[in-house]
């Protein structure tokens, strides 16, 4: 089990835009480098990418949540 940690503080999004599908749903396969979320920090959007491959277990932070650097955002299983 691996956690995806936030590289920066900001606002976390689980979809590219309101109404768009979630980047990942539980059970989805994840490849290294897949985008699993977005962080908005100081009017800039940053992709959050998976650093391991496996199966997506779920988000640990809600869409629109204020997060700090190093906070767990999602979980990826083997």
């Amino acid at each position: 089990m691996a956690q995806v940690l936030s590289p920066v503080p900001g606002t976390f999004y689980t979809q590219a835009a309101p109404g768009e599908p979630l980047f990942k749903k539980p059970g989805d396969p994840v490849a290294e480098g897949d985008i699993i979320g977005l962080i908005e920090v100081m009017k800039t959007f940053i992709d959050v990418k998976a650093e391991t491959s496996g199966t997506f277990k779920g988000y640990l932070a809600e869409d629109g949540a204020a997060i700090s650097a190093g906070e767990p955002l999602a979980e990826i299983g083997a």
């Binding site: 503080p9 900001g10 606002t11 908005e40 920090v41 100081m42 009017k43 800039t44």
Partner: protein
């Protein structure tokens, strides 16, 4: 009527700057803030504060109803918008007008007029301000384009007459290139807009960005000379100077005098800036747009001329007349400002806010730091990344750069990333020291790896 109670509808360093100016004038200050900004420095400094909504700017600093309601609730007789947010929002100004509250800036009609590129260009031309030479109307044949280009001078920019947003723009360096590109541009314009008409404009290669600070009281207007703001990354200014060392006195006088003519022609009230492209090869300058607000880089002008521009704009907004005649306004020495952003210049300028610690601010003759920091302050991630502006003033440009290096070495902002290393590297760069740069200089300089972690 002089302003007595001023609501500051902005945040960060400019809110602090406005409070300082208002307090010096004996004005009662009321700081508007979002829920995320309750402990920012401007809230601590103001006489009182009022919450205008949640963290997202759309629900607070950009919310017309919330800000007007806050102004009424706090019995403010005027609102200072700072820069950004609602500083150039004519609808906001009209809402304040309807509530009988003064906006510190020009009228809604002036904002509308100068915010419209075509109307602003016409107003500029009418006032004798040079604009980028272009074709009078649409061009339908290649021969028409060639004839017009001959009068404009090469290189020329080929645009679709019906287009916008930069789509399909081509630059022809010679008549031969124009003859090749014009039919392509026509075909593309026809496909994209259903109209093959073209528009030609002189292309300025590697221009400098020069701007003139003006101030008006509705009848009279003055200028506070020019600023040089060519050091840009992604169209964001990074390093600004006053004056522009590349100008000779005759060009400077022409630039500044025509800016005043435009300000007078539109009965301008408040602080404004006319932006120009300057071709240092030919010495020609061309109006691009007018900003109807105080600008981030106004401190270099204050250091150059000794005038407090924020106090002056509050004074004229309260119905006062300009307190200086043009001949009273003089320039001395040279000033430079650098923008300290919460970004990591070694990581593609990734924004990186955090909690401020180990803050050390340089002090001394000719050094000024406009900011909103204090030890323990948590910089929120919701707004832009500007932390502060380090400004220096020396007897000449060389002395100002030397003082900038000293001041930067004395500045410490711990707990987050900043762009300090970029500014130190720029101040030590031979091209910067030689004043040999333009608006397209910084990005290739960064791409070539000139910013090294050792700085």
């Amino acid at each position: 009527m002089p302003i007595e109670r001023l609501l500051i509808a902005n945040r960060g360093e400019i809110a602090v700057r406005i409070i300082r100016a208002a307090k010096a004038m004996g004005i009662h200050t009321i700081q508007a803030h979002s829920e995320a900004d309750a402990d920012m420095l401007a809230v601590r400094m103001a006489d009182e504060s009022i919450c205008i909504g949640p963290a997202p700017a759309a629900q607070s600093y950009l919310n017309v109803d919330a800000v007007v309601a806050a102004a009424k609730a706090s019995r403010a007789d005027a609102v200072h918008p700072g820069y950004g947010f609602m500083a150039e929002n004519a609808g906001f100004v009209r809402a304040l007008d309807a509530a009988g509250i003064t906006f510190v800036g020009p009228s809604a009609d002036t904002i509308d007029r100068m915010g419209d590129k075509v109307a602003a260009r016409q107003a500029a031309e009418a006032a004798g301000v040079p604009v980028v030479p272009g074709s009078k109307g649409r061009l339908d044949t290649v021969e028409d384009a060639v004839n017009v280009a001959a009068t404009l001078g090469y290189p020329v920019m080929i645009k679709a007459a019906a287009g916008g947003g930069g789509k399909g723009i081509r630059i022809a360096q010679t008549e031969e290139e124009l003859r090749k590109m014009a039919p392509q541009a026509q075909a593309e314009a026809k496909a994209a807009f259903g109209d093959g008409g073209l528009y030609l404009e002189r292309a300025i290669n590697a221009p400098r960005h020069i701007e003139v600070q003006i101030m008006g009281d509705g009848t009279d207007a003055v200028h506070y000379f020019e600023r040089e703001c060519s050091m840009q990354r992604r169209r964001q200014k990074v390093w600004e100077e006053a004056g522009a060392a590349c100008l000779d006195e005759k060009t400077r006088a022409h630039l500044c005098d025509t800016a005043v003519a435009l300000a007078k022609a539109v009965n301008y009230v408040g602080a404004g800036t006319l932006e120009y492209l300057y071709d240092s090869n030919t010495g020609e300058f061309f109006f691009i747009e007018m900003n109807t607000r105080i600008q981030v880089e106004h401190p270099v002008t204050e250091m150059l001329t000794g005038t407090d521009l924020v106090q002056e704009m509050i004074h004229v907004a309260g119905g006062g007349k300009l307190r200086q005649k043009q001949h009273d306004i003089t320039r001395a020495g040279h000033a430079i400002e650098v923008r300290l952003n919460a970004e990591d210049p070694m990581m593609q300028f990734l924004p990186f806010p955090g909690q401020v610690s180990g803050l050390r601010i340089p002090e001394g003759e000719g050094i000024r730091f406009d900011h909103f920091l204090y030890d323990g302050y948590q910089v929120p991630p919701f707004y832009d990344s500007l932390l502060g502006k380090l400004i220096v003033h020396g007897k000449d440009r060389e002395a100002a750069i030397a003082l900038m290096i000293t001041a930067l070495e004395g500045l410490e902002i711990g707990g987050l990333k900043t762009t300090k290393a970029l500014h130190l590297a720029l101040a030590c760069d031979a091209s910067v020291q030689a004043d040999d740069f333009h608006t397209q200089w910084l990005e290739p300089w960064l791409a070539a790896g000139n910013l090294k972690p050792t700085h």
